[in-house]
Symmetry: C2
Subunit: 657 residues, 2 copies
Amino acid sequence: MQYLKPAIFTFIVLSYSAVIQAQSLFPQITAVPFSGVTITDAFWKPRIEKVALVTITVCVDQTEVKTPRLRNFEKVARKKGEQHEGIFFDDSDVFKALEAIAYSLTNHPDASLEKRADEWIDKIAAAQLPDGYLNTYYTLTDLNLRWTDMSMHEDYNGGHLIEAAVAYYQSTGKRKLLDVAIRFANYFDSVFGPNKRHWVTGHEELELALVKLYHVTNDVKYLQLSHWLLEERGHGYAKGYTWTDWKDTAYAQDKTTVKDTREITGHAVRAMYLYTGVADVASATNDTAYMTAMKSVWEDVVYRNMYITGGIGSSGSNEGFSVDYDLPNDHAYCETCASVGMVFWNQRMNLLTGDGKYIDVLERSLYNGALDGLSLSGDHFFYGNTLASTGNNERREWFGTACCPSNIARLIASLGNYIYTSSANTIWVNLYVGSKTNVAVNNTNIAIEQQTNYPWDGDISLLINPDKKTTCALMLRIPGWAQNQPVPGSTYQYLTNGNTNFTITVNNVPASYTLQNGYAVINREWKKGDVVQLHLPMEVKRIIAINDVKDDRNRTALERGPLVYCIEHADNGGKAMNLILPDEAVLTSSYNSALLNGVVTIQTTATILLPTANGDGIESIKKTITAIPYYAWANRGKGQMQVWLPRKATYVTVETK
Amino acid sequence: MQYLKPAIFTFIVLSYSAVIQAQSLFPQITAVPFSGVTITDAFWKPRIEKVALVTITVCVDQTEVKTPRLRNFEKVARKKGEQHEGIFFDDSDVFKALEAIAYSLTNHPDASLEKRADEWIDKIAAAQLPDGYLNTYYTLTDLNLRWTDMSMHEDYNGGHLIEAAVAYYQSTGKRKLLDVAIRFANYFDSVFGPNKRHWVTGHEELELALVKLYHVTNDVKYLQLSHWLLEERGHGYAKGYTWTDWKDTAYAQDKTTVKDTREITGHAVRAMYLYTGVADVASATNDTAYMTAMKSVWEDVVYRNMYITGGIGSSGSNEGFSVDYDLPNDHAYCETCASVGMVFWNQRMNLLTGDGKYIDVLERSLYNGALDGLSLSGDHFFYGNTLASTGNNERREWFGTACCPSNIARLIASLGNYIYTSSANTIWVNLYVGSKTNVAVNNTNIAIEQQTNYPWDGDISLLINPDKKTTCALMLRIPGWAQNQPVPGSTYQYLTNGNTNFTITVNNVPASYTLQNGYAVINREWKKGDVVQLHLPMEVKRIIAINDVKDDRNRTALERGPLVYCIEHADNGGKAMNLILPDEAVLTSSYNSALLNGVVTIQTTATILLPTANGDGIESIKKTITAIPYYAWANRGKGQMQVWLPRKATYVTVETK
């Protein structure tokens, strides 16, 4: 790999401005930003409100009052030799809380919260060193040691600073934090880069952040720096540095160059942030080698290493990937942040390809693996999201390593980002979320109002109101689950093929459409008052995994629409592991407004194994069981839960407690 | 605590020689050393041979060839700036292997092995620094950092050096390693002590080793140094040092002074080595405050924190103790070294008190928790010894942290240490092991030959051959399990009181005896050819735990003689978790010479839960099950095992794999 020799690198640097202005090799699809989307539905709107009123309050309180996270910045500014408290990456939680606040201020203006955020920003700015460096851990311990240990998250913290700064600038128009971020980025650029020092980010994040900074400043040097960081990987440059928390080169995706990578390895959140950054750089630079690598890695994730919940990173020991098909249910790690990362990366992959399969995976991670990370009350969090529990799991108020709470908060606060995309003459509807937006195609503004009770039913109405008549394609995503493909690829399949009769009408007349890349394409001239109605079949389905997934053998999971279901103790006599669900049992569903803030539950009849009166044997009895959406479990105390239900017993373990 | 003020300390130092020559406050009981005991029986003799021929070969091969443990010493001697390999405590494995070799050479002379040991000793001696310091890790990394981190095992390594040196000197008469150990001890003494530097041993071991050095050299300064090390604990002196692997002060028994300690805490092996050292110092110094502390700690271990196998340290996270009655079976840590430590400590407690209850516990740890650490083949090892397995546990060839293999090797090679003790006019028989020895009482040599097929049956013959007629007490331990006390104290009890009819005859006539401290005392004039026959009742018994031990609720364990039994997959249709053993099921036993090198198995009829043909339900059937001695499990491949068997089911978990 000769890439980093100066002569060649110069060529690449020089060619940048040409590349980014050339005809893109990828479809030019743009996401409608959440600031242009008003969410109105009964599922997401209350959650976004809950994040604004409860979750962000928790994050602010933990960051500012209950833990020393913000106080470290004050200590730097005071210059009194005070000690750093907490963990070396705690600065990032301050920035991520600010980013969530920024998004929430757009959805839910709050002058008092904005004032508090401004005060935080003053404190952050006061902790920045004259050269632009900003990191309370090293500034309060030993500045001589900065940038000596690649795993100490100086880059990661810096990336979250930049993301927060861009978000706050876009939300409020205030530049102060953006200027801090720019000074940090310029400082980093002055130390690292071609003919300067090598650097392999220990926890990827800065890459995607620098692309955001490039887009908001239009300064190509941030894109170049991000690209350079990607190209630094896989050459062994980390060897010259200390790496406190690296387990091996695969752990931080430093085993191969990005372009040569074909398999997912290591820490799941690091991997997701890396590939999000890779997609961002590939999009801006037309890099097809990155695309080849990412498609292979994506297949490795989705075909062999993803849970049915969209959760990834099955192993707690490296917070990441182990070996193919190793998907244990009872100690699934599935960090909330990794599912959030799956949303980020799959959105980018969809933008780069226009392929709906990426949104299928995004939707799966969003409604299941990620949403499970937040309690219905908005103030308790899962760090890991297991798929089976003997009763020891419960959401917690906060964590020592507190990456997940602000991550799920910033995702939900910016949910509008993931619903609509557009290109010159096409509009994509990716997620079915009741909402209003405006999209410009063919130089025409089209107001769109989406009405739906999704995910509880499959009826979606789209009111299309162009300023003037215009012909363009409206692309409605037809989820894989509505076409008997629970996940694109082969890891999971439906046990019985169900109804695939989705229907589309325009103005109550069956619409003419073609199917393309997971979308129904309706190409027509649109006029004010057009109404598109999509019906997605919403019956309950049984999923099975391929035989390679040993932990799911002889088991089935229940799904309805985008939601994965589970059996929880509270609905089933205090237990959840003592049942066999025969394949022939009829599955019905009904909406229960009083349960778990309103959910559709699934009912069926299972074989329940119960001890005889004196405990000397076991009886099999038939009994109705109730399944609830996976995201809603663990809101009624600790107890058993499982997603993958036995289709048949091969063995039983006698319990005595 | 004023203890360490110089004036007071001086008083203690001055008073040493007076104390150690004064009338002891404790019974003056001495163990007959293993070098004076020839083991002849069918149970232990083949194991000692296996250790000599196989286990020690494995230890030697791993230490010298397959791992860099010995090479680190060569590197120090070469002085070529080579890097240390392995872990900072690896020196100790070299010393422990040497100690096991030393014991084995006594049992099983082997000129070639002795030559190899001599070569090792040359290499070790060549790696000692002129000042006496000996530690390959710091010598090969940065000698300036020596003694800056209390948890870096410099003291622990030194202790094992001393133990090996004493053993090798006693076995071979060769002084070279002993002189190395003395130089190390003198060096340590020159750096640490009253009016010098403080030191809290990070992993206790040096204390007990220094007492051995005192006994072999008769130099009281080593006893004083050991005593001083004990008194250093509990004052917060570790605060001034780095402690890389300390979790908290309780972890390394540094939370309270030794004398004020009333509860067991922290790392189990550290605790056992500490209290062994405390007992040794108490014995030499008549310290009753130490005795008070140890009795309380011992009760805390045995009454609330010990498994039925004699294993201790239930928690893997600290390799030690958690909270009272926290004794999970399926992830019992129970390090082999901790059971070895229980043997050491309980032997000392017995010597200090003459109380048989300590031998009851010693025997339980020896035959179950410790012996389980070694495969029947002698070349595979358990680090942890779980009491229930779903099939993921197997003994391994070696470990990165390889403390256990040489520890079980040195214990078995020196088993003779634990059989006989004596005082001026009393002989104790503590363990029933076929063996020959000579004991001097009343200035008379008494040859004793013990013949038994223990632990398979309870018939023990003792041939007593004094040189001349002499009157003394012969104390035969009557194990708690033969008197319906499985463990002294209350954690465990027999479900039904069994036969307590042990019998003793002398020359075929029922003997006159009294019961005292767990021993039958036969006080008479002994003459050549006297034959004492002891019969211990050996029926199978059910044990239950008190209700506080949640993990054993509604469960029973099977015991026969000193052996705890388990159900293993290989004897029971490939499974072991699907049974209920009703209290009324009849238990029978029989010897099977073809199984597991010959074992008594237990048969009974249990309720087995089996899936119906199509897996849609469960049937309870009655079936004969076979239990094997716990120590013998995991010698026939991986599979399920459990010690605590359900008496009744409260619940079942359906398995599908």
